[in-house]
Structure formats: structure tokens, C-alpha cells
Amino acid sequence: MKTLIPLILGMAAVTYLPRLIPLLFLGNRRIPQRMDAFLKCIPLAALGALIVPGAFQATPDFPFAAVAGMGFTVAYGLFRGGIIVPVLGSVAVTYCVLLVNI
């Protein structure tokens, strides 16, 4: 098979440029208030779509396992907060559910 390196470089370029251009041209520049509000809302808007529906298919053979893991994250996150424990805990819960069901 012929080398894939040109393909990889092409993919790298089209991945990198959209990540770079806004940083170069928007950074340290005054932008209209409406635009600023839009940009500041992007993280929240992205999170919802990044989580749903993907999370429900995270363990495709047995979707309940991932849902149980997420359940732990929500419960612990709401009452105690933090990032590391909710993340590691969700992996542990998912692991146990999968272990019992396979």
C-alpha cells in the first residue's frame, strides 16, 4: 500500500486551521457585545450536544451500564461536586454493572 503521509498532512491542515484562525483573529480584539454574548454561550450550548445522545450509546452492548455510571456522576456531582470523583466513580459503576451482566 502506498504511503498515507500526504493524507495525514492534509487531514492535519484542515483540522488545525479552523482551530487556529479564530484564536489569531479574535484574540485581544474588541468585539460587539452581542457577538461576545454569543461566543460566551458556546460552551454551554456545546456541552448538551456533546453529551446527548452519545452518552446513551457509550456502552453499546448494554446501554444501561453507561446510564448507571452517568447516574452516579449526576448524584455525586449535584450533592458533593468536583470532577475527579464523579468521573472515576462513573467508570467504577459502569465496570461493576458490566461485570455482573456479562
Binding site: 482551530r19 485581544n28 452581542r34 454574548a37 454551554l44 448538551g48 446527548v52 452517568m70 472515576l88 465496570y95
Partner: protein, 231 residues
């Protein structure tokens, strides 16, 4: 300083945990597709974009030419344009030369973690979070290629949940603090589910549509609230 480095590594750690199994899976698949170790390494080291690397392997297997694969990659990864634009409003004073390496590491998860860090972002913090993600991705890809499935199957499957749990854990304090955040996040998830179900947009674009629609909605609320305060 030491404390700050610790905090940055702590912020990057969940990304590390989430990326390792995905990267190992990429390495295994790359080997199964008869790609050399060098090519597998370069995919992860110079493209550094999870989903689109898997898609590229699939397209290669179907015999698609490089032009089509590069175009697909552009479409799949274009959402990062919006994410970088949003991050640019959060950076502190960062000299231009640092923006070039910084932009390289803007993935979905890095963006999410950085966006919900309080205060202006320092370049050290950004680089350390990116380094956690990058080392896991490149290291995991190479390890997967060489060692195959060295993680027990059930463990690697459950570690796949880590990325979603990370995003969820970032989101929770926001929705707990503000009903508006809850409405926006739910709208985005519901809209995305519907768009994925309709299956008419190319991969990656359902998220772009969700971001544009929901962030517009959010900015409308924000300016509306500000005007009410003024009255």
C-alpha cells in the same frame, strides 16, 4: 506556582483517563487496517482529532481517495472553529507566538474543561491541560498498535464512559446555579438527539447546528436580561 501546576494537571487528568481507551482502540484498528506504526503515530501526533481519525480509517477501508477523506475531516472538525472563537474571549494576555501551539490542542474535551475554568486563562494552564490530553492520545495510540488490547475488555469499555462523565461533571455546577443554563443545555441535547435521529447532516454538523442555535438563544436571553437590569 507548584499549586497552579497541580491544579492544571488535576483539570487535565479526567481527559487523560477518557482518552487512553479511545486511543488504544484507534491503535488496534490502525493495525488491523494494515497501517504502519509510523503512520498510526503520525495520525494521532499531527492530526490529534479523535472521531475523525476513526472515520478516516473507515473511509480508507471503503477505498475512498485522500481528497474525499480530507474534505470529510474538514467537515467533521469544523466545530472546533466555534470552540476556538469562544476560547479566544477567555484568554488572558497571551503573546501571539503561543497561540500557534495552543490552537493545535483545542479538542472537544480540552475546550469544555478550559471554558468552565474560572477567570482568565493563563497560557501555562492551557498548555498543561492540552498536554494531558495529547500524551494520552498519542501514547495510547502507539500502545494500542504495539500491545493490542492490553486493557481488559470490560475495563476499556467502562473507561469509555469517562469522557461523558467529565462533560457532565463540568455541566452540573452550571445547571445547579442557573435555570437558564439548564434550559440551554437540555435544549442542545434534545436538538442534537433529534438531528442525529433525522440523519440528514454530515457527522459533526449536528453539533455545529446545536451550538449556533442554542448559543444564539442564550445570547438573546443574556442581552435581554442586561437590558432589563438597565431599565
Amino acid at each position: 506556582m507548584k499549586q497552579k501546576i497541580g491544579a492544571s494537571l488535576k483539570a487535565g487528568f479526567p481527559i487523560f483517563i477518557g482518552y487512553v481507551p479511545a486511543a488504544v482502540a484507534f491503535g488496534i484498528l490502525a493495525k488491523a487496517c494494515d497501517i504502519t506504526l509510523l503512520e498510526c503515530f503520525l495520525f494521532s501526533a499531527v492530526v490529534f482529532a479523535g472521531a475523525s481519525q476513526f472515520i478516516a480509517l473507515n473511509l480508507l477501508a471503503t477505498g475512498m481517495g485522500p481528497g474525499g477523506i480530507v474534505l470529510t475531516t474538514l467537515l467533521v472538525n469544523f466545530r472546533h472553529f466555534l470552540m476556538s472563537a469562544s476560547l479566544s474571549t477567555r484568554l488572558g494576555e497571551v503573546p501571539k507566538r503561543y497561540l500557534f501551539p495552543m490552537a493545535f490542542g483545542v479538542t472537544d474535551e480540552v475546550f469544555s474543561v478550559l471554558s468552565f475554568t474560572k477567570g482568565a486563562l493563563s497560557k501555562t494552564h492551557v498548555f498543561l491541560v492540552e498536554l494531558c490530553a495529547y500524551s494520552a492520545w498519542v501514547g495510547g495510540s502507539v500502545a494500542g498498535f504495539i500491545l493490542g488490547g492490553f486493557l481488559p475488555e470490560i475495563l476499556s469499555k467502562s473507561m469509555g464512559v469517562a469522557l461523558y462523565a467529565l462533560l457532565l461533571a463540568i455541566l452540573l455546577p452550571e445547571v445547579k446555579a442557573s435555570g437558564r443554563a439548564l434550559i440551554l443545555a437540555i435544549s442542545s441535547g434534545v436538538l442534537n438527539t433529534w438531528l442525529v435521529h433525522l440523519d440528514i447532516l454530515p457527522k459533526g454538523w449536528t453539533i455545529i447546528v446545536c451550538i449556533v442555535v442554542v448559543a444564539s438563544m442564550g445570547s438573546f436571553f443574556m442581552t435581554f436580561e442586561k437590558e432589563e437590569e438597565r431599565l
